[in-house]
Amino acid sequence: MREEVAFRLNGHDVAVEVDVHRTLLDVLRDVLGEMGTKEGCGEGECGACTVLVDDAAVVSCLYPVCEADGTSVTTVEGLFEPGGELSPVQTAYLEFGGTQCGFCTPGMIMASVALLAENPDPSEEEIRYALTGNLCRCTGYVQIVESVRAAAELMMERPA
């Protein structure tokens, strides 16, 4: 069974005909060529595949692609600023060593973006809770938490 699925992807309209049993993750990577989003466990545990659907963080490995129809999807590729600059969260992850091998990073960043949209000034505990579903096997979490905190400060300093 194939169906056309149409949604906004990082601000652009896309429409693809897909096998209905595919996941959003599959379609992002294999059909749309957006390779930033990673498949880690494929079971919703590791968070590497985190994207935003209508601003809510979801694990795209468990998200049926048909459910993306009519929504707005944001992946790590969609975070660039208008001038092509990195977003504050990306900048902070780079500066504070929140990334090592990089595999968990897109998912970490998307979960961080969702957190900061909801809570612009999170405590360390709130950051750790928000990132419960994102596993890193390289750095541990200290520098990741510091990166999110730094991103919060960068964003609060910016004129609204």
Partner: protein, 286 residues
């Protein structure tokens, strides 16, 4: 691993598709079923998505609190009527999966998946939750306690859908709490317990205890809770209750824990839960 995918907009349409589609499964958030499919533990011929069925969404605070079965756990956490009247249910949502999972997973899905360790089940059992089930012939209500039949097994008939979870109104000095123990974050509970007491003049007049991951189904501890009624929440009563619970559960040994440890932990968590309820202010809920 190929299957059809249907997105009905109404309950009638969903039930019609189910009747016409052998081997179809209903799916809501998909955080359990999609994993089973990926692991080839389930191979449905079709999925019938309940995400867009208007009748299954929303929370209605009427004579009973009516929580639509497709309400996500994130929506539930943000609902003032749940926080005010049913705090143990809110407590059970905090360690539930991750934010990504809670944004997708639904309350009805957690119950219909019928894991013995389903996080939402013990609190709902102590609140005397009733589930509303519907098929093409009509609707019926059932106590949640009756709904769980075995691991992964429920009282749902083929083609029947859980439409809502109904909670009776809170009245009097009712206090409730949920506690769980797991190895690490994101892990399912090793043991979880929920406790509810209604106090009158220092004495317990109504008690509900329930535990998860210690029996084939999330289990209301009827014999054990009976020991509380007519007693104060003193140390002797709490000790008696936490010991008695071991006789009412039938835990297994698995990768998370031994049966013996689960039995021990059930008593410890019940003692802590009751001590918390004793410390709660005279009015209101914990």
């Amino acid at each position: 691993m190929s299957y059809d995918y249907h997105r009905p907009r109404s309950l009638a349409e969903a039930l019609d598709i189910a009747a016409a589609t052998p081997g179809a499964r209903f799916v809501a958030g998909g955080t359990d079923l999609m994993v089973q499919i990926h692991k080839r533990a389930a191979a449905p011929a079709a999925l019938i998505s309940l995400r867009h069925v208007a009748e299954l969404g929303g929370i209605d605070n009427g004579a009973r609190l009516r929580i639509g079965s497709s309400v996500t756990l994130t929506e539930l956490q943000a609902e003032p009527a749940v926080a005010a009247g049913y705090p143990a249910l809110i407590d059970s949502m905090r360690p539930f999966g991750s934010r990504q999972i809670r944004n997708m997973a639904t309350l009805g899905g957690n119950l219909c998946n019928a894991s013995p360790g389903a996080d939402a089940a013990p609190p709902l059992l102590v609140y005397d939750a009733v589930v509303e089930l519907r098929d093409r012939a009509g609707a019926r209500e059932m106590a949640l306690e009756e709904f769980f039949v075995g691991p992964g097994e429920t009282a749902l008939a083929p083609g029947e859908v859980m439409t809502a979870i109904l909670l009776p109104p809170r009245a009097g000095d009712v206090r409730s709490v949920y506690l769980r123990k797991a190895r690490v974050k994101m892990d399912v509970a090793t043991v979880s317990v929920a406790a509810l007491v209604e106090m009158e003049e220092g004495s317990c007049v109504r008690a509900r205890l329930a535990a998860g991951a210690v029996a084939p189904v999330p289990k209301r501890l009827r014999d054990t809770e009976g020991l509380l009624v007519g007693s104060p929440l003193d140390d002797a009563t709490i000790a008696r209750v936490s010991t008695a619970a071991a006789d009412e559960i039938s835990p297994i040994t698995d990768v998370r824990s031994t049966a013996d440890y689960r039995r021990h932990l059930t008593g410890v968590l019940l003692r802590r839960a009751l001590e918390r309820l004793r410390a709660a202010p005279g009015e209101g809920v914990l």
